[in-house]
């Protein structure tokens, strides 16, 4: 019988692991936890351009939730997130799987699908605005070809403008999703394919029932990345619609940015950030928790 290991008698490897994580711990504590607390504090004050020490309780939050533009932006974000994430994953996965079929010109195709990711939305947003503009872009072009009945004017439509943001951002993101999933696909054992061929399982079933579950971690990574991109959605909206028509394509990050800089209302912007963060965490936390329970692989060293 020995006494349980004392806390200070850590094995050398664990000690190194702890030390290696120190920069991360520092970043998390100072840069993330610190700024969140700072933001929380500011959101309770009357800060304008600069932080202030005059506390006004929850007044900023009250104002926030009386603001139609803010409420609309949350709605838009939910709709956008759902479509953007699911479509990006679907398209990215299809591209990855198809590119994985030993096609000719793989390198070229991969670059074609990836290039939008390299383009800043400052300019591509404008191109999308043109393409989607009913007077300038696709609708006009198709009608000129003799299909007078074709209508494609979502970008000027209050109810459909968010779909155009989805379209442009899926165009930008799905190439990267493809790259990530392709890396995942190619770390899967080739023997799976031999086994499946022997068992006579049709290719699509192998993908759906065998490969897809094995891509679980990659898809989880993609999901989180797309989710953070969703929450931070800003550039595309500004360059394509400036939040319009009216406020129809307003999103929280733009609302926050407008108030942070242009409108010099640090406190309201902070309140918006806090609400946004809490909303996202409330949605994501149960998901991540369930996943971590599911994935528990016992203690590792």
């Amino acid at each position: 019988m020995t006494a349980p290991r004392s806390w200070w008698k850590v094995r050398p490897g664990h000690f190194s692991a702890g030390v290696a994580l120190l920069p991360l711990a520092l970043i998390v504590l100072v840069a993330y936890v610190g700024t969140v607390l700072w933001t929380l504090r500011v959101s309770l004050t009357n800060a304008r351009t600069f932080p202030s020490d005059v506390y006004v309780g929850l007044a900023q939050y009250e104002r926030l939730f009386q603001n139609e533009r803010w409420l609309l932006s949350l709605n838009n974000l939910a709709l956008y997130g759902l479509l953007f994430i699911s479509l990006s994953i679907a398209l990215g996965l299809l591209l990855a799987v198809f590119i994985d079929q030993k096609v000719r010109g793989e390198g070229l195709l991969r670059t074609v699908f990836l290039y939008p990711y390299a383009m800043s939305f400052v300019a591509t947003g404008l191109v999308w605005q043109w393409l989607l503009n009913p007077e300038l872009g696709l609708q006009n072009a198709v009608q000129a070809l003799g299909f007078a009945g074709v209508q494609f004017d979502w970008i000027v439509d209050q109810d459909k403008v968010m779909y155009t943001i989805v379209l442009a951002t899926v165009w930008q993101a799905s190439g990267f999703v493809m790259a990530l999933l392709l890396a995942g696909l190619r770390s899967i054992d080739a023997q799976i394919w031999n086994a499946a061929r022997i068992d006579g399982i049709p290719t699509w079933q192998v993908y759906v029932f065998i490969v897809l579950p094995m891509l679980g971690e990659s898809i989880a990574t993609v999901f989180v990345l797309l989710l953070t991109a969703t929450v931070k959605l800003f550039d595309a909206v500004v360059s394509m619609t400036q939040g319009g028509p009216g406020n129809a394509s307003e999103v929280p990050a733009k609302f926050i940015m407008d108030h942070l800089f242009g409108r010099a209302n640090l406190a309201l912007a902070s309140a918006g950030s806090v609400v946004l963060l809490l909303t996202v965490l409330a949605l994501v936390a149960p998901l991540l928790y369930a996943r971590s329970r599911y994935h528990r692989r016992g203690e590792r060293l």
Binding site: E68, Q129, N133, P134, V156, G246, N247, L260, R263, N265
Partner: protein, 409 residues
């Protein structure tokens, strides 16, 4: 670690050591990055160089961006010598936090109190001290029209009243043209509103609503009429309007596809690019009637706090140079604006600018842009309501109520 320290140290010596250059060195943050604007800022820089200074240019696109960088640099302890702001309450917080150097002796020397329009002074002067050097006046609500389009629609004379304007728009529509070229972005919607408020509502209502935030006026019949006229203009825009950049709207006038655009005097630059000239290819209307107000908007430079005597010297020199008559005219000629002082030689300026300067001679016609009377926050909230109203079908009474709530102090 040693390396890090070295880099930090060298950065430090740079900022400290940079002062002992030839003349007083001034780092200026501004957002004049497009072609015409660049030419304009060059006149300021040249004037400063001629006065013996060294101009260090930090151009950052977009006003919000440039202003936030200036504020961040002040916070980070590395302020520029001067930073551009709009003629507005944008820098009031900086003044109140004691982060700006006043330039009182320059203002007194040049006699700003007599020289500058009261509207501009009301922003520049805080509690008796002068904190910003104004460089120009932009007038955001010019009504531009394409002579080609007017001709095609059979319109002989330019409209003289608001009713005539609507009649003109109807005629343009009948001719199969786009009557009102508009870029459906919130700030452009706001400009159209300002134009309607000034021309339909008049100076008195304008001040009651935007300056005094008078609830009765906002919920009254006169303002309702303003809002309805504003909304009526929306019906003259084309389907492609939402999201469009202002210069694309101007291009429609240039091409003769559209008749009228309500936009600031910077639109002259776009016409000039397409080799069109005022009076010949396009016309400009500042407002309707002999008493129509001239809306004042513009740019100023503020001078972040510093105790470095060299930097203070640079700030004073800069402020003096910016208001010198020659600089004012040269700058505005490139920028499309008009000088902030009226005692200058206007012969070199274009037709529209001369028209504007003539109006400016009458002090009773001076009127500030919304930002001069409202905090950035209130101005933004108003814009939100207006752009929603412009794009959606909302009862005008609701809009009145919303505006009253947004402007409540």
């Amino acid at each position: 670690m040693l390396k890090f320290a070295c880099i930090a140290a060298s950065a430090l010596t740079f900022t400290v050591g940079s002062v002992h250059a030839a003349g007083p060195k001034a780092e200026v943050i501004h957002w004049w990055t497009s072609g015409g604007e660049s030419a304009a800022v060059k006149t300021l820089a040249d004037a400063y160089t001629n006065a013996g200074g060294v101009w260090v240019d930090t151009a950052i696109a977009l006003g919000e961006q440039a202003r936030s960088v200036a504020v961040n640099r002040i916070l980070g302890g590395n302020p520029p010598t001067a930073a551009q702001f709009n003629t507005s309450k944008q820098f009031l917080d900086l003044v109140e936090q004691g982060m700006l150097n006043p330039i009182d002796n320059v203002a007194q020397q040049q006699g700003w109190d007599k020289l500058l329009p009261e509207t501009v002074l009301s922003v520049v002067r805080v509690k008796g001290h002068y904190y910003a050097a104004p460089v120009n006046i932009h007038m955001p609500t010019w009504i531009w029209y394409s002579k080609a389009a007017f001709k095609q629609a059979g319109i002989g004379a330019e409209p003289k009243t608001v009713d005539e304007l609507f009649a003109v728009l109807d005629k343009l529509r009948a001719a199969g043209l786009v009557p009102l070229a508009h870029g459906g972005q919130p700030w452009q919607d706001n400009i159209v509103f300002t134009a309607v408020l000034a021309n339909v509502g008049g100076t008195e209502l304008y001040l009651k609503v935007l300056r005094d935030k008078d609830r009765q006026a906002i919920e009254g019949e006169a303002f309702k009429k303003v809002l309805l006229s504003f909304k009526r203009l929306q019906s003259y825009t084309d389907k492609g309007s939402p999201g469009r950049n202002w210069n694309d709207a101007t291009s429609m006038l240039i091409a003769g596809k559209a008749g009228v655009q309500i936009m600031g005097d910077w639109a002259k630059g776009e016409f000039a690019q397409a080799h069109q000239s005022p009076g010949k290819d396009f016309g400009c209307i500042a407002g309707f009637g002999a008493k129509s107000p001239y809306i004042i908007q513009g740019d100023v430079f503020v001078f972040p706090k510093t105790s470095d005597p060299q930097a203070i010297k640079a700030q004073q020199l800069l402020a003096g140079v910016m208001l010198a008559p020659v600089t004012q005219v040269a700058f505005s000629n490139k920028k499309g604006s008009i000088p902030v002082r009226t005692d200058v030689d206007v012969s070199s300026m274009d037709l529209c600018a001369q028209q504007g300067l003539a109006i400016m001679k009458d002090k009773s016609r001076h009127l500030g842009n919304g930002e001069i009377y409202m905090s950035p926050d209130q101005n933004g909230a108003l814009t939100d309501i207006l752009t929603a109203y412009w794009n959606k079908n909302q009862p005008v009474e609701k809009v009145q109520k919303d505006i009253a709530a947004a402007l409540k102090n």
